[in-house]
Symmetry: C2
Subunit: 543 residues, 2 copies
Amino acid sequence: MGRRFNLNLRHILWRAATYYPRKEIVSVNSWGVVERLSYSELHTRVRRLAGALRGSLNLGPGDRVASMCWNTARHLELHFAVPLSEMALHTVNLRFSAEQVVSSVNDAGDRVVFADPDQLPLLERIASELKTVKAVVLTEDSGKVEGLETLRLEDLLSESEEADLIDVDEEKPAAICFTTGTTGQPKGVIYTHRGIFLRAMASCMSDTYAVSERDVMLHVVPLYHISSWFMPYAATLVGSKQVLPGPHPSVERIVRLILDEGVTVSDGVPTIWLNVLGYAKERGITRLGELRRIVVGGSAVPEALIRGFAELGVEVIQAWGMTETYDSAVATYVKSHLRSLPEDEQVRLRVKQGLPFPGIEVDAVDESGKRVPWDGVTPGELIIRGAWIVDGYFNNEEATKTSFTGEWFRTGDVVTIDPEGYIELVDRLKDLIRSGGEWISSIAVENAIMSHPAVKEAAVFAVPHEKWGERPVAVVALKEGARASKEELLDFIKDRFPKYWLPDEVLFVEEVPKTSVGKFDKKLLRATYRDLLRRSSGDAGQA
Amino acid sequence: MGRRFNLNLRHILWRAATYYPRKEIVSVNSWGVVERLSYSELHTRVRRLAGALRGSLNLGPGDRVASMCWNTARHLELHFAVPLSEMALHTVNLRFSAEQVVSSVNDAGDRVVFADPDQLPLLERIASELKTVKAVVLTEDSGKVEGLETLRLEDLLSESEEADLIDVDEEKPAAICFTTGTTGQPKGVIYTHRGIFLRAMASCMSDTYAVSERDVMLHVVPLYHISSWFMPYAATLVGSKQVLPGPHPSVERIVRLILDEGVTVSDGVPTIWLNVLGYAKERGITRLGELRRIVVGGSAVPEALIRGFAELGVEVIQAWGMTETYDSAVATYVKSHLRSLPEDEQVRLRVKQGLPFPGIEVDAVDESGKRVPWDGVTPGELIIRGAWIVDGYFNNEEATKTSFTGEWFRTGDVVTIDPEGYIELVDRLKDLIRSGGEWISSIAVENAIMSHPAVKEAAVFAVPHEKWGERPVAVVALKEGARASKEELLDFIKDRFPKYWLPDEVLFVEEVPKTSVGKFDKKLLRATYRDLLRRSSGDAGQA
């Protein structure tokens, strides 16, 4: 016995190349040119790239390879060639600061960096600080990074032999992704072949994303962000046509690709799809070609997005996940006995984060670690375990220790769970505001402010207060040309909350500061406005 | 690290009980009475049954428990309680001969037998030969098996405490099933928690059986036969309503349950569904309620079944598998670029066995183990590996050795694989007829004879021949009241094959003898007619 079949990326690529050799991967390059290659060609190029990694680049099992790339076929090739050479692909987040890039590349110990043309200036700037990198491979361009050996990808490929893809042990790392976390330097998360395989398989189940060979999938989520939520592996496993929109994809390009390539399913953060919706409305578009569903996550999905896309014949599937959960672990699924509810109540369900995937288990606990009731009211920290949850941080015993309770990962998200099991996000644990011994949800208040027609963005955060401990403060960016006063906004939301939930201050800004993954940077806001309420006695405080 | 989540049956039952506590399991008992229990009640009964196994019955980890049961909720409870007590459930094939039952129970070393009422006479007869069995538990009846301690299930449950379901290591056995094989005694096959979990997950993928919570699944395949192809685990994983048709289900009962319970998906061997089709046609039924798809396997699916059910709005998904492949490993899937083919060509695709599931890899090899081309013409033995293929036989080193080539399981099925990867069964390796150095497919010839309107069944098999080595002989059972001669039948098929493929003899019988799983018993036929052609010189031989 012991002939165990490894759940690894080799099988995923083998299946597409064997059964769908002529299916297309459509990719936009740095010059905006649309390229096409088949799964058969992808397979050949991956084998050749694996040959280059092990040959010219002289890398071996266990090595780490960094990518600083957009969503292109070149980046997809790295997603197979590196793991199938028994190495791990470190997808560097292109939104990271130079300091974060240096820290994560040094932490991962990357030997080689594959980079898109627009990354060269940054690489030049940080070259001398990269301790383990011995070469840079340019994906598209010729050029030179001062201080580092610089190679061209196509040169490398043309001089390399096709290598056999390794039947890697399923527990071995395939990828590394760094999460900014809440304090200090980025923390590395390791993804195994097994975890990616199970995550890909789960995405093809009827009651999750139902990814099928018949689908044409547009990857809007960056490959540098949890490998585009691992959707490309699901698409390859079943042989879907894939569309990669290239660097800095604009709304116009996204819509154009959806229409031109017959895209049926896509994904991304709410902001992008709100922009697509706005674009469609402005132009009187009533159908987005063949598009039938979009997986939306990264932050809470507004009701307007669900209703707006329903009018275009597109279902919005809300997904919840974290870097530590291989992204998607929870998603919208309306149970059959709830499908007869009035539409408004169904939308109410769909704005919740949803139910865990098959293979994932969740619960919510209070500060002492005791389970809270699933009553839809009592908040608790979401804890999670399952078939694709990481089991610790790379090189970081301390963070690993504080992030797990036994076999459960502590998400740091405060949620309620209703009697049907639907999870609803209340707030990030660290963003909850503790005022006079009571909790205030920053997310609930900012969502209420954002529903005012004049408001573009609003973030609510805690500011230290002598009497109440903490009090909420809002920063608000108004829409172009729109006007609203502090009083008007507070009046607009006052009936929805206890009086003590209303922010003590509303500060108007041009734009709310954001983190590298596009979320409101509340850490920065808290630091910036730390002394705001010390100057006053806070007479608008808790009632 | 090392907090690995086990892919086991605990998660499957937990999910249904947690998210679909009120969903129904409908079960027909031995008296034809329809019983209903919810997943929540199932969960409680399973915990109580686990308590009984470990308490009153005094069993422990590693023990084996036999079931001699039909498709009922009681049998489903055993499918969770036994594996989640870290024991293996041996589902005894109710079609086995007394000798085969004794051999398999002794081989498995079963400690306790759970039995439905109609199995008592058999148990009485063999009680003295069962070496390891210390008790019989009657699922429904009160009664006594002479020579064995006899208990009633409901008594056991009422006196037991609910036990915790064990988070079993995924590599541990969950079930044992015996396959009759081709020679000698039944061989035991072990199913692990991991294999069952992956098989269940795969059955829910869009491009396979797409099992969903919205489905109502009728289990026609016996639970004693590869645990009803593991479909109950898929249904439980996603929370489908399940319908178990009880002992000796008739066509009338199957149709009645489909209509009464809103069944959307079912499964079974071709014979049963041909009978359902005949029943529907006789009564002018044009829709079978909500039924939309049936998974059909066990033997090749006739075109008439596919076309007949298409008229009822039901898709036939052909499945190929063996005891050693957790049943389904290959199934019908029409690739998107082939969906524009004319209907006849699509039906032609659907009578092929299909494409491997995601997670499964196949190939075909010649006698020297060399890969044969995927040209749709060259036959080779199907070899297979993947996420739910067994890695050997229980207690049988010799059979394990001869059945594997490295990590590939040798199926013993001769197939062709076409350029698109579709597998088509030519014959069982052992049923191929070698005449004058050329191969003859027994299946092809018998299918041709069976397409004659007078013929009910036909089996073709090899008989030793002095000159040609082997020659084909047919046994034919005619439909009631129908008539046909040897000459007429041979004339009917002669244009479809080379002359030397035509059987030397056609013997008319009342019924073709069958094995315990309902296939033609060619081993018996070969033995019975071994000397048939020795008496003549075989002048109808090879041209």
